[in-house]
Each structure stands twice: as C-alpha cells, then as structure tokens.
Amino acid sequence: MSMEDLYQEIILDHYRKPHNQAPTLEDEDVHVHHSNPLCGDEMDLRIRVADGRLDGLVFDGEGCSISQASASAMSDVVIGRELPDALDLAEEFRRMMHGDEPTRADDLLDAVAFQGVAKFPVRVKCALLGWMAMKDAIESHQRGATAHTVTHDEE
C-alpha cells in the first residue's frame, strides 16, 4: 500500500482545494446528512434541481482526504446532469469501487482517479460517502422529500 497508489495527485488536489464545498446552497431543494459511524465521517450535501437536472450541489463535512476529495470530484461529474444520469454514474462509481472496470470512464472525469481505492477495502466507504449522499438526495427529491438523514455503513 504505497501512498501513491492511494493518494493520486488528482485526489490530493481535490482534497487541498475542494470544489463545491460550502455550508449552504441558495434555493436548495434537498438537504441530506450522511454519516458513517464506523469511520466517523459526516457529510451534509445539498442539491438544487431545475428542469430535471442537478442545477446545483454543495457538500460540507468532516472526514478523511479520500471522502472529501471524492465528494469534490463527484460534484464536478454530476452538476448539470439529468437526475437519472447522475444516479447511473453513482452506480458506475460504486461498481468501480468493487473492482469493476468503469464503462463510462470519460464521464467520471477526475473520479476515475479513485479506481485504486478499490484495493483498500476500509477506504472504499470513504470514497463512496459523497456519491451515496448525492444519490440519496436525488432519490429524496424524486419522492418529494426535502431532507433526509442516513447513518450508514452499507453501500
């Protein structure tokens, strides 16, 4: 387990200068709070939906570099996408974390850099946290909810 395998430069860039990290989002439609008690990661994630697309997304939270960087990379991937497409990419990322080759590698942008995390089972949950929060926010929106809190260790 070398530091380079896990912490690719792209990941560190996102960690040092996260994109779309903010405590509030104007006109937010849904706010979810996810926590993983096993590692102690916590994340607030807010989305705004317009015309069936993710018009805005911000996250804020506490967690290791992997979870923060992954949420940052995720935000770049999904902002502007149609909701089902964002969900599809969340599933794509989840499969990648289980060792599958991504089929939409291009669309995953910087998130592809997390492929190596699959080799570190304890860190997979960190990388997934932001993605699962985003998925939950969209699904909450789809069923008309505006907030949701999830405590998980599932994926």
Partner: protein, 411 residues
C-alpha cells in the same frame, strides 16, 4: 475418483504416533477429527506473517488478516452452497444452536406454539431449545425412532397435525446411530403443517462426511462445526438466509457488531457481522478454509464413497462377532460412519479401556445424547467412527481388542 488413503495419512501427524507400544488407530473422528498439516500451516502462516486484528485496520497486515478471515467465510459458503452473508462464524456448533435459541426461539415464539425435535438429537441441538421452551412456556415434541434407528416419519406427521409446531430442530446425521435424516423432506412436512414454521438443522456430523447444499436443503438455520471436518478447534458457523438474519435481534453484543453506539443503546452492523461480537477466531477461520480446501480436493463424493465402503466392512465384521449388538441402521447407504454397539456382558468403559490400552481410540459413554440412550435402553455405548484417513487396516485392531475385552472380563 477415489483418493489414496496411505498418501493422505501422511498429512496427519498424530496418526503416525505409537500408543502404548501399538500403532495408534484413531476411530473417534465423530468426537473430533485429526487435523492435516496443511491446516496447521495455514494457521501458522497467519500467526507468523500477518498477525493482527481484522476489520478497520488501515495497514497492510490488518488488510491481509481481514482478507484471510473474510476469504474463509467465502470458502465455507462455497463448500456448503450458502450465501457468504449468511455465514456467521461461531466458536462451535453449540454456539450456533444457541444463537438460534436466543435470537429466534426466545424472541419469536409464544406460549401455545410447539417445538418439534427428535429423540436422537445431540444435546447441542436439544438442550438450548428445551431450555428456551421451559422458559417461554413452549411445548416440545419428539419424533420417535423406528426399530432400525430411523426417524418415524409417520409419527412425525401426527406430531405436526395440529399446526402448532412453529420450530423444528433436527439433526442431519446422528453422532451415535449414524442415521442420515432426510431433513429436506422433514422440512417440507413441517412447512406443510404450518407455512410459517422455521427449521433448524444440526449439521455437525453431516458437513464433514456428505456433500451438503444449504440452498437445496431448503431449511432456515444450519449449524456447522470445524473440529470434526479436519479443521481446528474453536470455530463453527451458523448458516442462514441473510434476510432472515437481518430481521433478527442480535445475540452476542459488543465490538464489531454495531453500527453506532450511544450512551443509551446501539444500532447493529450488517449481517453477518451483526452476529459476530468481539475479536473473531481469525487463525481458526484460516485453518477452516484450508480444511475446506483439503475436503474439496478429495471430493465429497469420494469421501462418502470411501466411508460407505469402510462402514460396510466395519458392520460386517461386528455382525460376525458373538454377543455384539449394533445400534442404528444396518444399511450403509442410509447411514454415516459412526457405529455404536454394545458388547454383551462388558461395560462400554471396560471395552474402551481395553481398546485404549491397545492403541485403539474409540469413544464410550452417552455421546451427549442422553435421551437417545434412554430410548435405546442403555446407559452408554461404544462408538467407533471412521473418516477419510481410516482404512481397512484399522479394523482388525478394533475387532481384536473387543475380543480381548470379552475374554478379559468374562466372569
């Protein structure tokens, strides 16, 4: 198909030991099997190379230990055709039965309901449930035996008729009579009488000797033990449907089985971890996986074939002796390799001592089946049991020893 026993025996160091100046003849595998060097090596490798605790470790040693442990779960799951998420590691089969008694019987059954079991159960598959039944005000019903040591399924039908049986605890293979019970059929009968009924099977004597498919049996819980299947002491498993486990309250609580803990209470981890509290049997899991590899390599069909052949010889040899009564089915096709018998006029303890003095290891006593002893009208039996490393050469010392006991104790 068949394997070479002489070659295989080399992997079992204890078997090459001398006992009281005699070649050691081990005919007590139904109590605990011998352990091949490959199993010892697997445990040793963990201790010498990857020694650390599992889960949540971020350093390579801990990841290796976790892979070993979770890999062992997958190996066992494959071996018994079960979902790995439905494999809960326990310290032995007895703990597996108790898990069911605490997390199912005590919690989900109510006065007025009945438990169906049999008179041939090992205490492990009997006492946890009668203890729970006494506390919960549940009735317990026992399937009796036919004269040749099989379960009386007609009587079972009558015991099920009123539909009040909501839980059945049945042994797959008897450790005393050798009887192989048709648990799939019994499970069908139980569910026909009450579709909500749960079926728990004690597979301690089955998994070492038969190809077992948990999925095909169609039962709800299945108890396994490692030390009778070439594995180490200190590990067993409960097999169950993961969704079923998900719906149940945990049994042992503590570290590793929680999702979150507050001062007031806790939420539970996913299955199967939810049922595995505390530091698990890491080395033992690695050893059990190696045992599964050995058995898989031999092939469970070949294992069974070998045992049927040897049991046939054993039964023939005992039948040819005067004053010996074999308990249990006579047909090797419907029974395993545990053969219990009485030597007329010589107490089992004395037979066992004579055999022990000649290097022949058999078990004497009630074999943790007191109700069966009462049903057979005996206090104890002598039991010889064969396994993969036994061969025809192991039988004459047994037969000679019994004859010597008969002569020595003749009054």
């Amino acid at each position: 198909m068949a394997f070479d026993v002489a070659t295989l025996r080399k992997e079992f160091p204890t078997l090459s030991r001398e006992l009281e100046g005699h070649r050691l003849v081990y005919l007590d595998s139904a109590a605990s099997s011998q352990t091949p060097v490959r199993v010892l090596d697997a445990m040793d490798h963990y201790y010498r190379w990857s020694r650390s605790n599992v889960h949540r470790g971020v350093y390579p040693l801990a990841e290796e230990a976790t892979d070993l442990y979770e890999g062992a779960r997958s190996s066992l799951a494959r071996f018994v055709d079960a979902d790995p998420r439905g494999v809960v590691f326990t310290k032995n089969a007895t703990e597996a039965c108790n898990l069911v008694a605490y997390s199912w019987v005590r919690r989900e059954m109510h006065p007025g309901e009945a438990i169906l079991t049999t008179v041939m159960e090992h205490h492990a598959n009997h006492v946890p449930f009668t203890h729970a039944a006494n506390e919960r005000g549940l009735e317990v019903r026992h399937i009796p035996l036919t004269s040749d040591g099989q379960l009386d399924l007609e009587a079972a039908g009558e015991l099920l008729a009123d539909g009040r049986v909501t839980f059945a605890a049945i042994g797959h293979v008897s450790n005393v009579l050798g009887t192989i019970n048709d648990v799939a059929t019994i499970a069908d009968m139980v569910r026909s009488a009450n579709p909500d009924a749960m079926v728990q099977v004690d597979g301690a004597q089955a998994v070492p000797h038969l190809a077992v498919s948990f999925r095909d049996l169609g039962v709800d819980f299945y108890a396994v033990t490692g030390h009778k299947m070439l594995g180490p002491t200190g590990i067993g498993a409960l097999l169950a449907d993961p969704d079923r486990l998900e719906s149940m309250e945990p049994f042992l609580t503590g570290g590793d089985m929680i999702r979150d803990v507050t001062l007031e209470g806790a939420t539970w981890n996913d299955v199967p971890q939810k049922f595995e509290a505390g530091t698990p049997m890491i080395a033992e899991a690695a050893g059990l996986a190696a045992a599964v590899d050995v058995l898989t390599e031999l092939g469970m069909d070949a294992v069974r074939e070998h045992e049927v052949a040897l049991t046939t010889r054993l039964l023939d040899a005992l039948d040819a002796m005067p004053s010996i009564e074999v308990h249990g089915p006579r047909d090797p096709q419907v029974r395993g390799g545990a053969v219990s018998f009485a030597v007329d006029g010589v107490h089992p303890h004395d037979v066992g001592a004579m055999l022990g003095s000649r290097g022949v290891c058999v078990r004497v006593g009630h074999h943790c089946t007191k109700p069966l002893m009462r049903s057979l009208g005996v206090n104890a039996t002598v039991r010889a049991s064969v396994y993969v490393y036994n061969d025809a050469d192991d039988l004459p010392p047994l037969i000679d020893g019994i004859e010597a006991a008969q002569a020595f104790f003749a009054r």
